[in-house]
């Protein structure tokens, strides 16, 4: 039997020629890339989507390189889900990390405008208040409102609009009612409403 463990394996194994830190025969932490070369092929489709879906685990947060790599193998280590769920040991840390990530990543929400061919995304964290938000949204959708004539009967030109948002509960709300902080914590997506629907909203608001 050869001395180095790596040469004990299949001769054609890519790992023999792999560059990595560490003594020959010791295994680098990023092991889960290897399963696909060891013969654990996906059954029908080789696409990455399948692989990442099969390999991703529902409860691990991306907390660091080596631990995340370890956490990628489905069903490993062999611990019953009951036990896993009883105490996620890193919960506090991973929640904090998730929060930190969210902070860094910004709060992106989709913005749609009635009649526009595509949607936009904005980072709510960037704005200090409603005024800035409205200005930004006007800028974003300027190209669609110029010269637009509403096609709906009985409506005036498309210059009347209202910004609404969908909140955590899925309800359609008018932007501006609640304090800014509360707004950005509950806003899931934004919608610029135009024309008749807007008038409907307005009258409801003032009646």
């Amino acid at each position: 039997m050869e001395a180095a463990a790596s040469s004990v394996k299949d001769g054609g194994d890519l790992r023999d020629t792999e560059l990595r830190l560490g003594l020959p025969g010791t295994e680098a932490p990023e092991k889960p890339a290897a399963p696909s070369t060891r013969g654990s092929k996906r059954a029908l489709q080789e696409d990455d989507d399948m692989e990442s879906r099969a390999n991703s685990r529902p409860l691990e947060a991306d907390s660091g390189e080596a631990p995340a790599a370890k956490a990628q193998i489905v069903g490993w280590p062999p611990i019953r889900s009951y036990r896993r769920n009883s105490f996620p040991p890193r919960k506090v840390e991973s929640e904090a990390e998730a929060e930190a990530e969210a902070e860094a990543a910004g709060l992106y929400v989709k913005v749609s405008m009635d009649g526009a061919p595509y949607l936009r995304k904005i980072d709510l964290k960037v704005y200090k208040g409603y005024k800035e938000l409205r200005e930004a949204m006007d800028n974003m959708f300027k190209c669609f409102t110029q010269g637009e004539v509403s096609r709906k009967e009985g409506c005036s030109s498309g210059s009347e609009s209202a910004i609404t948002y969908e909140d955590k509960d899925g309800d359609l709300m008018l932007v501006g009612d609640v304090p800014w902080e509360m707004f950005i914590s509950s806003c899931r997506r934004l919608r610029i409403m135009k024309g008749c629907e807007v008038r409907g909203l307005r009258t409801r608001q003032y009646s």
Partner: protein, 575 residues
């Protein structure tokens, strides 16, 4: 023997405890078959799809106690999709029709619904024991039905089930006249139970010996319960979280000192170190201790506790006990038979975890050790060889080195020699789980020496088909073989197809077996169900579209006299 009257033969059979012995005598001759089948009271079905329930009930009309297992073992590790199968209803229905005298039911890894539990509760007037292990599909509503209709219930044991909490006060459904409970285990439930109801229930059941509370039960409540049930033998403590400045803490200290019969403790869900002081008075009598759900208890406190447990036979702990703690176990617990060390942090080696040193210490201090489950980050051949020498009595040896393919860190060798020593030395080894870097050599050893082996679990091991062939050829008593992520393919699979009819089941996932190979197996062996579990998108498309060369991602093969099952979901193909 055939000249003896049947009653005498039946009486002799009464002395046969195990299912296997009874199965064996029933094959001797027709007369014995008939005597045996009418006198069998306890029926065990290891695979619910191996035989139809009606056939079981028809053969054993006197059945009083039934135990059925459903999903394959790797379902515990999320390798089997949720709706694969294993339904309890056909078994309950058949029993309702044919065995109304049913008293005990034990189900493991099966899908049980609230309706099933309701049917069960209403259909068997003599029902006394329900044990559900790793089951799912039911809620507290189903438990309410059991409590309401099973008058005379003696045992309700829920182990590690996924139970939905519908908020129903199921415990209140036990009638005031219910005084028969001997064992109640609801540790796996997430919801709260009414403290007063629980205390009254405990108070009116004088035969209660085993009680396992869930996390939601407070120390105040525990005090009341223990005061009312001083004869408890087995206690799951509930949350066990209490501030030591409170009266509740003082009462706790007194409570345990009254429990002279207590020999088994578990729970400690939210225990902090000072709470353990209350337990010291009973340590001297403990034979079973499960601290594996108490992450706040670190090595020093565990050591203080365990160093009083001279009679301990079974210990489940987290790896924060460390090698130091295991050395204390080794020097204190001379009666130890079973040890399980679980990882407290699966993301990486924590500040303390256990290594090969802890295991070696245990092996030299605990000569009666026969059952091991050990999670660690490293293991050496030298350590395993020493363990094998010290403990030749292992019947169950399950070692999980948390990093796949990890070699011996000292020599960089595979762990073939270490595991080889284990199988050579432990002649009565029935169950083995391997891990670490392993070549085909370890399988050669296992095939050569592990003659009593019944269950083998392999992951990330081996070099070629030879490995699997060694196992199939050598292990004469093999019943369950489960393999994941190993380079075993069609050649190994088809090497000895008749072998699989001598086994309960074979599981292979992420290996090299192809659809064609599985089809060939199915074609040659009509009394095997060869199931392919296909989880990719579009899995309801016709098989014909997929080439035989494609790898079968998950394959489950089991012997059966029931034919292909009729409840398989779309993504399970029975070839």
């Amino acid at each position: 023997m055939t000249y003896f009257p049947e009653e005498v033969v039946e009486h002799i059979f009464d002395f046969l405890g195990s299912h296997r012995d009874r199965n064996a005598v029933s094959t001797v001759c027709k007369a014995w078959y008939h005597v045996e089948r009418f006198s069998r009271r306890n029926v065990f079905v290891g695979n619910c799809y191996a035989i139809r329930p009606e056939r079981v009930m028809a053969r054993f009309p006197g059945m009083k106690s039934l135990s059925v297992k459903g999903k394959p073992h790797f379902a515990d590790y999320n390798l089997v999709p949720y709706d694969w199968g294993g339904f309890a209803l056909p078994w309950i229905n058949a029993a309702v029709r044919r065995c109304p005298g049913l008293e005990d039911l034990r189900l493991k890894r099966m899908v049980v619904t609230d309706d099933d539990l309701d049917l069960l509760a209403r259909s068997f007037p003599n029902f006394r024991s329900l044990v559900l292990v790793s089951c799912e599909g039911f809620s507290t509503d189903g438990l309410a039905a059991i409590a309401t209709y099973c008058r005379g219930l003696r045992e309700l044991d829920l182990q590690e089930n996924e139970v939905e909490d519908h908020g129903r006060q199921w415990l209140s459904c036990f009638h005031e006249s219910c005084t028969s409970l001997v064992s109640l285990n609801f540790a796996c439930l997430k919801g709260e139970v009414n403290a007063g109801v629980l205390e009254r229930l405990v108070a009116r059941c004088p035969n209660l010996r085993s009680l396992k509370l869930n996390r939601a039960v407070s120390v105040e409540s525990l005090n009341e319960i223990v005061a009312r049930a001083p004869y408890l033998v087995d206690l799951g403590t509930g949350s066990f979280a209490v501030d030591h400045h409170t009266d509740a803490y003082q009462r706790l200290m007194n409570s345990f000192s009254k429990c002279k019969s207590l020999s088994s403790l578990s729970g400690f869900w939210e225990a902090s170190p000072h709470c353990l002081d209350a337990v010291y008075p009973v340590c001297i009598n403990l034979t079973v201790l499960n601290m594996s759900y108490a992450p706040a208890i670190q090595a020093d406190d565990l050591i203080k506790l365990i160093s009083l447990c001279f009679k301990l036979q079974k210990l489940w702990v987290l790896d924060c006990i460390g090698d130091k703690g295991l050395a204390v176990v080794a020097s204190t617990c001379k009666e130890l038979q079973e040890l399980r060390v679980f990882p407290s942090d699966i993301y990486g080696a924590g500040a303390t975890s256990v290594t090969e040193e802890g295991l070696v210490a245990i092996s030299s201090g605990c000569p009666k050790l026969n059952s091991l489950l050990y999670f660690c980050y490293q293991m050496t051949n030298a350590a395993l060889i020493t363990v094998a020498k010290n403990c030749p009595h292992f019947t169950r040896f399950r070692l999980c080195i948390l990093d796949p393919w990890k070699p011996d860190p000292v020599t960089n060798q595979p762990l073939d020699e270490g595991f080889g020593a284990i199988v050579r030395s432990c002649k009565n080894l029935r169950r083995l789980s391997l891990s670490g870097l392993l070549t085909d050599q370890v399988f050669l050893y296992i095939g050569l020496y592990a003659k009593c082996l019944e269950m083998l679990s392999i992951a990330f091991a081996g070099d070629s088909d030879k490995g699997m062939v060694y196992i199939l050829k050598g292990c004469k008593n093999l019943r369950k073989l489960e393999i994941r992520d190993c380079p075993f393919g069609d050649i190994a699979l088809l090497n000895d197809v008749a072998k699989y009819e001598t086994m309960r089941s074979l599981w292979m996932s992420s290996c090299d077996v192809t659809l064609g190979g599985c089809k060939a197996l199915a074609a040659k062996m009509p009394r095997l169900n060869v199931e392919i579990i296909n989880e990719s998108e579009g899995s309801d498309k016709l098989e014909e579209n997929i080439s035989d060369l494609h790898k079968a991602e998950k394959m489950y093969v089991y012997r059966t006299v029931a034919g292909p099952r009729n409840d398989a979901p779309d993504f399970v193909w029975t070839l």
